[in-house]
């Protein structure tokens, strides 16, 4: 009993302190992420009754039936088409809009504010908004096309327009986020580089593609990853509100299929298997991000 003991206790305490402070985070992560994730893996090997009171072990049967299910494969295909077109169009469009907004023209602040507005709208509200605009009978879009071109389209209930509408609405929704990042990146490019290129006599096309685009490549890379994640995983609300995955399952993507199987048809085991598949998709994207992102992207 003396100074040494007090000293030792303090040392232990100091070592423990960081863990103690991290405790609340750990508890929350374990409770809300690791345990459910584990449960998801576990359930994916079972056939579970509606109220979860009966379950049979079925091995990988859930996975097998998913990969032989025409509808599931269709949803994978639609996920690819939807994600690819949303991401590519959104990235290029936002880059160009950011270039324009970066110009020093009077009122550019007002344009910026207007362009950013969709970002403040939630996915569900955005879906509802486009649902109203594209309504075949009372919607503004059809009103205008009828007046100017004399055509009426069932935007949300026919192929391929349901997919077009969905992709268009999603791009509209994700655009502002990308623009903000591009704008910040563009403003970070030093004016000397640009001026030097002008003196060297490059035209603006070369300047944009050979100098500016490579300089913002870290942002492009980050945005591509974020857009893939958001259009794969956060598209549920917009699909649910706009097309409900229709017509005939045409606009059902993987996350919407998961929702239908899990929460409409109460097939917990099957939905868990779909969840695990999405988990692996996520892992691949993340690994790709860390590995490829460090190596290839040009950082200033």
């Amino acid at each position: 009993m003396g100074d040494r003991h007090i000293y030792g206790g303090a040392r232990v305490r100091r070592k423990l302190l960081p863990y103690l402070l991290l405790m609340p985070t750990y508890v929350i992560i374990v409770l809300f992420i690791y345990l459910p994730a584990y449960d998801s893996f576990y359930s994916s090997f079972f056939k579970v009754s509606v109220f979860g009171n009966r379950r049979i072990f079925v091995g990988i049967q859930n996975y097998l039936s998913l990969f032989t299910d025409k509808d599931y494969l269709a949803s994978v295909r639609f996920t690819l088409i939807y994600t690819l077109s949303t991401v590519v169009i959104s990235i290029f469009l936002s880059f160009f809009i950011a270039l324009l907004l970066d110009q020093k023209v009077p009122g550019s602040r007002i344009y910026r504010t207007l362009v950013f507005a969709p970002y403040a709208v939630s996915h569900a509200v955005a879906g509802a908004l486009w649902g109203f605009l594209l309504n075949p009978v009372v919607g503004h879009v059809n009103y205008l096309t009828r007046i100017f071109f004399g055509i009426q389209t069932q935007w949300l209930t026919t192929r391929p327009f349901a997919a077009y509408s969905l992709i268009f609405a999603s791009i509209w929704k994700t655009l502002p986020f990308n623009i903000i990042f591009y704008l910040a990146a563009l403003q970070g490019i030093s004016s000397e580089v640009i001026e030097a290129s002008i003196i060297d006599g490059t035209n603006s096309w070369t300047r944009v593609w050979k100098i500016i685009f490579p300089l913002v490549s870290p942002i492009t890379f980050y945005l591509v990853i974020m857009s893939i994640i958001s259009s794969t995983f956060q598209s549920f609300a917009i699909i649910d509100v706009m097309t409900k995955g229709g017509p005939g399952g045409y606009t059902t993507n993987m996350i919407y299929k998961l929702f239908m199987d899990g929460f409409r048809f109460q097939k917990t085991g099957l939905a868990a298997a779909e969840n695990v598949i999405l988990f692996f998709v996520m892992i691949i994207i993340t690994v790709f991000y860390f590995v490829y992102g460090q190596k290839r992207v040009h950082y200033q």
């Binding site: 309504n135 009978v137 004399g150 209930t157 026919t158 229709g246 399952g249 409409r264 109460q266």
Partner: protein, 432 residues
């Protein structure tokens, strides 16, 4: 010792005065939230020892999903309102208290006063599992002013498919550029109408007497009766006589009718009250009629749709008793009449209908009468009692998906039926 006794007495008195708290989850949005709250408030006034927490939880599907998670979490709600197609699922669930068990123990409650048309749907193997509550059937609504305008007899609505198609053709109106600005009919894209049309032709939807004498093993709608309705749907679509909505978009279908973009609407009888007010606002006269049948087919009947009240098992028997009291109250003639008048859902009891009839209510509200007559004149057999299938949501999805493919032109009516049959059978087989 004395102190302990006093303490115990105090605790017991407090406990005996404590209110039993129960939860009631329902799916009736909009103005009906208030209607239900008021009915429950009345109940609490009569039963001061029971406190009911009423919650509008969202759609029937959401209630089911939330009930499943609440039961698994060990905090089940007491009374939940679920749609008719959840019946088999709930019977199989093992988490409910069958209403029949409570009825048998309660001499004050006479189930014989209920309409057999309603009771027969919710009885499985002769046993009543849930309390019928909000019951409706589809009904044909039409715009009498538009009928007059195009030379149709507003007092003679179409009774057969060919009369229906003929009326639709007359209702079409185009602008100078040739765009259709008004057309015949709409109903929302919902499998319920398909099921109703099987019963209307006196045909079952699934085998084993619609799943009522043994569990259903396959669907039996891929026949002439099924084809009749699909052909009608496809013809109306091809000729531009019908506007199709998104899946289960009841609001869109109603809007089309209220805005007079279509002259006719097939929708639930629970829309009667709403359509009466809205048509008056828009300045047109509302007409209601029985559903038209395929030419030359004898009329079978309509199936009860809507929802019923389920009592979920509880650890505390007092809570089950309180839940039963609430359910019993909501099915009494008084609340049933309030509910009927506010919405258009049927009063599900003979004595409630008699009371309304005696008061002359149906003379002033002919549309409510059409709805009831269509139900009362329905043939009563397994076909019109409605199918019970564990995998009913999947079967509906199969039918709706096939219909969507048919109206987008990728499948013919026959192919659509084939595909719906295949997917529905797969779902029935996989049900667990």
């Amino acid at each position: 010792m004395k102190k302990v006794l006093v303490f115990l007495v105090v605790i017991l008195t407090v406990l005996s005065f404590a209110k039993t708290k129960i939860q009631f989850w329902h799916a009736m949005g909009g103005w009906r939230i208030e209607v239900i709250q008021n009915m429950v408030n009345e109940f609490m006034k009569l039963n001061p020892d029971i406190e009911v927490e009423v919650q509008y939880v969202g759609s029937y599907e959401e209630i089911l999903a939330k009930t499943v998670s609440a039961v698994q979490a060990g905090t089940p709600p007491h009374v939940v309102q679920l749609n008719e197609i959840s019946t088999q699922k709930m019977v199989d669930s093992g988490v409910i208290v069958p209403v029949q068990d409570l009825v048998d123990k309660d001499p004050s409650f006479d189930v014989g006063l209920f309409l057999p048309q309603v009771l027969n749907y919710y009885k499985v193997g002769g046993k009543l599992y849930s309390m019928p509550w909000n019951s409706s059937t589809p009904l044909l609504y039409y715009n009498k002013n538009l009928f007059k305008e195009v030379g149709l007899d507003p007092n003679n609505p179409p009774r057969t498919y060919s009369e229906l198609i003929e009326a639709c053709r007359k209702l079409v109106k185009k602008d100078e550029k040739g765009n259709v600005i008004r057309t015949g009919i709409t109903w929302c894209l919902y499998s319920w109408f398909f099921e109703e049309y099987m019963a209307l032709q006196n045909q079952p939807l699934v085998d084993n007497n619609n799943g009522r004498t043994a569990k259903a093993t396959k669907v039996v709608f891929n026949n002439q009766a099924g084809l009749n309705f699909m052909n009608l749907w496809n013809t109306l679509r091809k000729e531009g006589l019908m506007i199709n909505t998104k899946r289960a978009d009841w609001t869109a279908a109603r809007q089309l009718f209220i805005s007079q973009t279509v002259g006719m609407l097939i929708s639930s009888t629970s829309d009667v009250a709403l359509l009466m007010t809205e048509s008056a606002k828009q300045g047109f006269e509302l007409g209601t009629a029985f559903l038209p049948v395929p030419d030359g087919t004898p009329r079978g009947g309509v199936i009860i749709g809507g929802g019923s009240l389920w009592i979920i098992k509880q650890k505390n028997q007092a809570e089950v008793d309180a839940a039963w009291k609430l359910v019993k109250y909501l099915a009494e003639p008084g609340p049933q009449i309030v509910w009927h008048q506010a919405t258009g859902y049927f009063p599900i009891r003979v004595d409630a209908i008699q009371k309304l009839q005696a008061e002359g209510y149906y003379k002033e509200n002919p549309h409510h009468l059409t709805a009831i007559l269509q139900l009362l004149t329905s043939v009563q057999n397994y076909n019109t009692n409605g199918a019970i299938i564990g995998a009913f949501p999947e079967v509906r999805d199969a039918i709706e998906t096939a219909v969507e493919k048919m109206i987008s032109g990728t499948l013919t009516p026959k192919q659509a039926l084939d595909e719906a049959e295949k997917n529905a059978n797969k779902a029935i087989k996989e049900y667990f």
